[in-house]
């Protein structure tokens, strides 16, 4: 089967909460192996967009397709994760009472059924992969510590590591740089660029230095729909964008 050129396709997606339109006729495309940055003021609907893609929130109307043929509105969270969509949450969410290594082990791409996990046995390849990920996210010396004992920035990294362990086709990353030092932020941008060579990535971020470091096409959301799209320089010279977001 020919692979669809666009990995993710949103058309006319709307979501309302008690009459308030969090997403309003939102449409955009993410190409295969494309990285896209999403910016926009608080409450613009960035997180809600990720909720809709990952099955957490059902859209009231609109079309959501993944990989050309899969209608995402017809599936739940676990199935959508199984298709190859991984997510990092805005508030870092790791399994606090389990070790850093076990967090990665839980995320590692492997059969997800209860009997598969009951009889699961670590093999050398999986251990090596986890070691590799621990090095990537710079948590090698913390592998036996509880994830709950990590700093905010380290939790962000652990969650990115879990996302990598899942090895999804599409990564949705909500505010990865929050709570990080400048050096950590720069390292995160490097890491994401590296990931984007073989994956599609959607990054939501407020930190403009970070977005600039990514150097990718930017989509500006406002009141649940796309306000502008293009390079960062292009959108930041757009008067509408300056009015609602950058100028404030």
């Amino acid at each position: 089967m020919a692979k669809a050129e666009n990995l993710l396709y949103l058309d006319g997606v709307s979501v309302s909460f008690d009459g308030f339109k969090a997403l309003n006729n939102l449409s955009f495309l993410i190409g295969r192996n494309e990285m896209r940055a999403i910016i926009g003021p608080n409450g613009a609907g960035k997180t809600t967009m990720m909720d809709v893609i990952t099955g957490k929130t059902r859209p009231d109307e609109g079309t959501l397709r993944f990989d050309g043929k899969i209608d995402l509105t017809a599936h739940d969270e676990a199935e959508i994760a199984g298709f190859g969509i991984g997510r990092k949450f805005q508030k870092p969410t790791v399994f606090e009472n389990q070790s850093v290594r076990d967090n990665l082990k839980l995320a590692l791409k492997a059969p997800r059924g209860p009997f598969a996990t009951l009889f699961h046995r670590d093999d050398a390849a999986q251990r090596a992969r986890i070691d590799e990920l621990l090095a990537t996210i710079r948590l090698r010396d913390r592998e036996t510590d509880l994830a709950g004992d990590l700093s905010h920035g380290q939790k962000q990294w652990l969650e990115i590591g879990m996302l990598l362990a899942q090895d999804p086709e599409l990564l949705l990353i909500d505010e990865p740089a929050a709570g990080m030092t400048d050096a950590e932020t720069a390292a995160t941008a490097d890491l994401l660029r590296e990931i984007a060579r073989t994956h599609s990535v959607v990054v939501v971020e407020h930190d403009m230095t970070f977005v600039r470091a990514l150097g990718v096409k930017v989509t500006v959301l406002h009141e649940g729909s796309v306000l502008a799209e293009g390079s960062l320089d292009h959108v930041s010279s757009d008067q509408k964008v300056i009015d609602v977001y950058l100028g404030r």
């Binding site: 790791v94 399994f95 389990q98 059924g113 209860p114 996990t117 009951l118 009889f119």
Partner: protein, 393 residues
């Protein structure tokens, strides 16, 4: 294979508990049967039976800890599974009475003769065979749990709402089993048992045997629980307990995991009930009472939720206290129980086991020479920091 399963989860406290249970299964019957009554180490039969009963409660507590401690499902209806297992055993014991009943009917239990029933209802067929009865003691609670869980977990009922419907489940069964036309002896339940597997149910040897069976069943239950919780599935369960929605986004079908551990736990509770009934000599609808399920939750909380060994200790200690109170100060037992629960919730969130563990850690820290700036950890400390083992003992 089992060994590999257990390798990660068999920590000190658990090995000690397993050894204690196996030793008790051998020693208590010997001290009861082989020593003359005058001997200071002789264990009287009533004590053997009482301890045997505590061990079946401990197995119920262990089952509850699997779902509550490791998967966050606070069941307020686990006594229902226990009672169903108990009824299956009771039905077997009723069929063993034969012509020795008051009415002397070779097939029908007394209460059916009394109700003027002419023949055995179909669902009593097969209960004259012990293996069949034991199969049902596991399968009936397992099936009920599976059906209940299938609907509840799929519709994502969680937290307090789930607790309430588990309570409703046991209450509905209480009402149903009270009815005479259900064919389970109504209000009076099943009693006047004569023998089990051909042995007189009142004899010292049978009592000792039932004690040993209870201790070994508990040991077996502990081994299974350790294997489950130490596996990767156990880690998924803890993930569900701590961050259910996050676990879904990793691609795990949370409802399947809950259904698995819930059903296993119900079967364990059913086995506990089946061992309980021949030791107390009766099973009646009172075992479905919501208060029984709540008491089981208290045992788990007192011993230490999510520790496996803790609930066993909690069940034995609380029931020991209950036996003492109901003899000495019967009016005060419920107040004492309520007070204990409040105390544990406020001051011992990790129960007795948690208290003991932090005391041990404090001692260790005091003994350890202070070497500031020491970076590298010894392997033992690294192991101690692993949650899978930290949650252990």
């Amino acid at each position: 294979m089992t060994l590999r399963f257990l390798s990660g989860g068999l920590t000190g406290g658990r090995i000690v508990m397993l050894a204690l249970l196996v030793a008790a299964a051998i020693l208590v019957p010997v001290l009861n049967l082989a020593l003359p009554e005058s001997h200071p180490l002789h264990v009287p039969t009533y004590a053997v039976t009482l301890m045997g009963k505590y061990l079946t409660y401990a197995l119920l507590a262990l089952a509850l800890d699997l779902v509550w401690g490791y998967c966050g499902i606070l069941s307020l209806g686990h006594a229902a599974f226990f009672a169903l297992g108990g009824y299956a055993m009771g039905m077997y014991l009723m069929r063993q009475i034969g012509t020795r009943g008051v009415y002397g009917d070779p097939v029908l239990p007394d209460f059916m003769v009394f109700l003027n029933w002419q023949e055995l209802p179909w669902y009593w067929y097969g209960f004259d065979a012990f293996p069949f009865a034991m199969l049902i003691a596991l399968a009936a609670p397992g099936l009920l749990a599976f059906i209940f869980g299938w609907f509840a977990f799929r519709s994502r009922v969680t937290g307090v709402y789930l607790s309430i419907i588990t309570q409703a489940m046991t209450y509905a069964l209480l009402l149903a089993f009270f009815r005479n036309d259900m064919g389970f002896g109504g209000n009076n339940g099943l009693t006047d048992f004569k023998d089990i597997l051909g042995f007189d149910i009142q004899s010292d040897a049978t009592r000792a045997g039932l004690f040993a069976a209870s201790a070994l069943a508990l040991a077996g239950g502990l081994v299974i629980a350790v294997a489950i919780t130490a596996s990767k599935l156990g880690k998924v369960l803890i993930a569900v307990r701590d961050a259910e929605s996050r676990t879904r986004f990793l691609g795990y079908r949370v409802e399947h995991y809950k259904l698995f551990v819930w059903t296993v736990s119900a079967m364990m509770a059913g086995l506990a009930g089946a061992l309980y009934v021949p030791q107390v000599g009766i099973i009646n609808p009172g075992e479905f009472a919501p208060a029984n399920s709540i008491e089981a939750v208290i045992w788990v909380a007192v011993g230490g939720r999510g520790t496996l060994v803790g609930p066993i200790i909690g069940a034995v200690l609380v029931n020991f206290a209950k036996s003492w109170f109901t003899a000495a100060l019967p009016e005060f037992w419920l107040f004492a129980l309520g007070g204990l629960f409040v105390f544990v919730t406020l001051f011992l969130p990790k129960g007795i086991v948690g208290l003991a563990k932090s005391a041990v850690q404090r001692l260790r820290r005091m003994r350890e020479p202070q070497t500031p700036g020491r970076e590298t950890k010894t392997p033992r400390e690294m192991a101690a920091a692993r949650p899978s083992e930290q949650a252990a003992e």
